[in-house]
Symmetry: C2
């Protein structure tokens, strides 16, 4: 099954994807469906997928957990040692955008070091605490696409990544939740990032040091996972910061993030403009 | 003005503190009051403060941001250099407990390295994006007490602190929000942690490298702050990990976290017990 979240009237609405049709569900987003607001198989009004905008797949996840240094090739290019435990950091929900939304570049006097990180994201379907591997697998609702767009100078200004990882409106999440009955444990999926038509990252989720099940079980020893939680599993090699010279995204850059059998995010980088009072607004149009 | 959040019927309820009486407000917690659910000055049913339990001051903050290495004495004891930018990491809301709740120790086979970190916490009162210093000050609702209880081996198993900072049910937050008209910008307040009756940390918030206003303005360049967001500003010297030999909290340890003019958290460390199926439950009684 594929579920999605669309913009609808003045808010958002969950839907089930049936080919190029969406069946509207009685829930504000996929997170609410996973929390049991409605039966994901229920009937409803249909709309054409091409007629609607995608919102972030989960609009207000209780947690967004990110894993760093978790692909063998990315670890090599960043000059790091293979990890003995998953490296976790967080993101706040205001970082999230929909699968076709613009990426909101920070003002150039804040940063121009904007980089891509294609990632497989896990979406939790049921509460889990101290889960075994099989319980962790059962707690996973499915998978989606995320790009952990990173502001590298903020990521590196201290030891902690958070600042560079949670800039507002920069992290595409979606378009669909594809459930585990279709894609198993999320391994064996080709993953790529394409920047202005050039493939920059190309790997397979089997290259993950810690797979989805490992991560979910480990996290559940720290804190209770709950329906709608999003876990980004890390990015493969080929990021802009590791290139010579480094490459950054800028106004108009088109970022396409694709995972086989899950779908793709396609996002255009859009600059903000300074308002007369010194603040910035999102540029219109 | 002092506001608090209590456990009430099957949920929580905001209240205004009037000496030893609490005036109930028509809002589920202080976060909801700050978002405008009700007038904090309105009349309501009164209860004796001693008759009720305190919930986490904000039950579901949109963000919990923590600042590391931010007191001059703690930086020295941890052997670090003074920072040029605030070090941010996150916590998830399930880490939070009330000002008198038990601290839920992890099972001993997960970790025994449980440490204290007394901190001044900022609570945001209005939305802020790209704020100047004066706008940042205006966006602060007030201050409260937080103890960033840390699981040191998890904090240090990778480069990123998050894992050791967000263990479930370990972070006291409260008891009251004291508004800026009473305590200004949060500087000049004595802060201490007392472990089983012995003062372990004793400093003053004027020792902060980055004060509340600096932090709030800086964060607002990364992401929009919103009412109810909680920002823990860092801890002074005297943590258990920096002692010789290191000191950890254990079953029955009493942790008292006090900030002058704000109040105190008093929390007892309670072990979990293993259930027959291998999971653990909070020990009763």
């Amino acid at each position: 099954m594929r579920l999605t979240t669309i913009r609808y009237e003045h808010g958002t609405r969950a839907a089930r994807v049936e080919g190029d049709r969406l069946v509207l569900l009685d829930a504000v987003d996929v997170g609410a469906v996973l929390r049991g607001a409605t039966d994901a198989r229920s009937d409803g009004e249909e709309v054409a997928a091409s007629d609607v905008e995608r919102a972030p797949l989960v609009v207000r996840p209780d947690k967004i957990v990110c894993v760093g240094v978790n692909y063998r090739d990315h670890i090599a290019e960043m000059g790091r040692e293979p990890p003995t435990a998953p490296t976790y950091f967080a993101k706040y929900r205001r970082a999230l955008i929909g699968a076709r939304d613009d990426i909101s570049l920070p003002p150039v006097d804040v940063s121009t070091h904007v980089d891509w990180e294609a990632e497989l994201a896990v979406v939790i379907g049921s509460e889990l605490r101290y889960g075994s591997a099989s319980e962790a697998m059962a707690a996973i609702a499915g998978f989606t696409v995320l790009n952990d767009v990173s502001v590298r100078d903020y990521q590196r200004r201290t030891t902690q990544f958070l600042a560079g990882k949670t800039f507002e409106g920069m992290t595409p999440l979606g378009p669909d939740l594809v459930t585990t009955d279709e894609v198993g444990d999320g391994s064996g999926l080709d993953i790529s990032a394409e920047v202005d038509g050039v493939i920059k990252q190309s790997s397979n989720t089997s290259e993950l040091v810690f797979g989805a099940v490992d991560i979910v079980a480990d996290l559940s020893r720290i804190i209770t996972l709950e329906p709608g939680d999003v876990i980004a599993t890390g990015t493969p090699g080929g990021v802009g910061a590791a290139r010579t010279p480094p490459e950054w995204m800028r106004e108009g850059t088109v970022l396409r993030t694709t995972i086989a059998r899950l779908g793709e995010c396609r996002n255009v980088c859009v600059a903000e403009e300074r308002r007369p009072d010194g603040r910035r607004d999102r540029m219109k149009g």
